[in-house]
């Protein structure tokens, strides 16, 4: 009896799809489309552009399956196609994303970081908070946003992110660190000022 397709692991599905099994490709697509879409959404910042990136990614993957090298994972490969597609579109749009990534935070900042760190923000993740998280992420330069999103949101390893972006692992680590600090400072500035601390709010 044939094993149900959805139980088969990626490498075997990729081999079957490359040999012309369209059903195998659909299973791969169903498995990875949501992560690719959310990744594209974070990079592009709107659902229309994200959908175009998603569509181009899977059409390209379908047409280039024979070029897929089995030493990498299908998920990493698909991220690479999606990321390149998104970054290319952002470059074409001449989007200027030159923000100053601040590492330092002054005296006033220290208080905000303190109340942010102690806040109960993650207990009540409301729409307003989610929208500000999105806003802060969109302020990062494109290549930094790509690193933070893949590493800290999607859970790829440093080596996988390096492979996707074609940069070194130390470069990934450096971008990740600076992105985290930038986001922390932005979030602390907005939420640190107005949130009750979880320690204070608990009896």
């Amino acid at each position: 009896m044939r094993e149900p397709l959805h139980e088969i692991e990626d490498p075997i599905l990729v081999r079957r799809a490359a040999a012309g099994d369209d059903e195998a490709f659909e299973v791969l697509m169903n498995r990875h489309q949501s992560r690719v879409y959310h990744h594209a959404l974070r990079l592009m910042g709107n659902s229309q552009d994200a959908e175009e990136v998603l569509q181009d990614t899977f059409v390209q993957a379908y047409r280039n399956l024979s070029k897929f090298e089995e030493r990498s994972r299908f998920s990493t490969w698909i991220y690479r196609i999606a990321t390149n597609e998104a970054l290319m579109r952002l470059r074409k749009a001449h989007r200027k994303r030159e923000v100053l990534l601040e590492d330092a935070f002054g005296e006033r900042g220290a208080d905000e970081i303190r109340s942010f760190a102690r806040s109960a923000l993650d207990d009540v993740l409301d729409a307003e908070t989610a929208s500000f998280l999105e806003q802060a992420l969109s302020e990062l330069p494109d290549e930094y946003r790509a690193v933070f999103a893949m590493r800290d949101i999607d859970g790829l390893s440093n080596a996988e992110v390096a492979e996707v972006l074609g940069i070194s692992v130390p470069a990934v680590k450096s971008r990740l660190h600076r992105s985290r600090l930038y986001l922390r400072n932005r979030l602390a500035r907005v939420f640190g000022e107005r949130l009750p601390s979880s320690e204070e709010s608990r009896p």
Binding site: A117, D152, I153, R180
Partner: protein
């Protein structure tokens, strides 16, 4: 290694990702034991990562799924 607050700031991400060498990790943790400000630095970055992870939706809208299938079908047909 002598670990001061500036060094903690530099090593924060590697600490959270458990990438520090044993000796550096020990020094950093003994600094943290004595420095509540640096503990806050660590906690605040941990919180950023947690917030972003939790805010992420897993599913994709159905209409986008359907349009993706259509696009792929058209690509297949045009390739044949």
């Amino acid at each position: 290694m002598r670990i001061n607050c500036r060094k903690v700031h530099e090593l924060l991400s590697e600490y959270l990702d458990e990438e520090l060498k044993e000796a550096v990790l020990r020094d950093l943790e003994s600094h943290l034991d004595a420095c509540p400000d640096c503990v806050l630095q660590v906690d605040s970055v941990k919180k950023v990562i947690r917030l972003y992870r939790e805010s992420t939706a897993e599913s994709m809208p159905v209409d986008i799924r359907i349009r993706l299938q259509d696009v792929l079908k058209r690509a297949r047909e045009s390739d044949r």
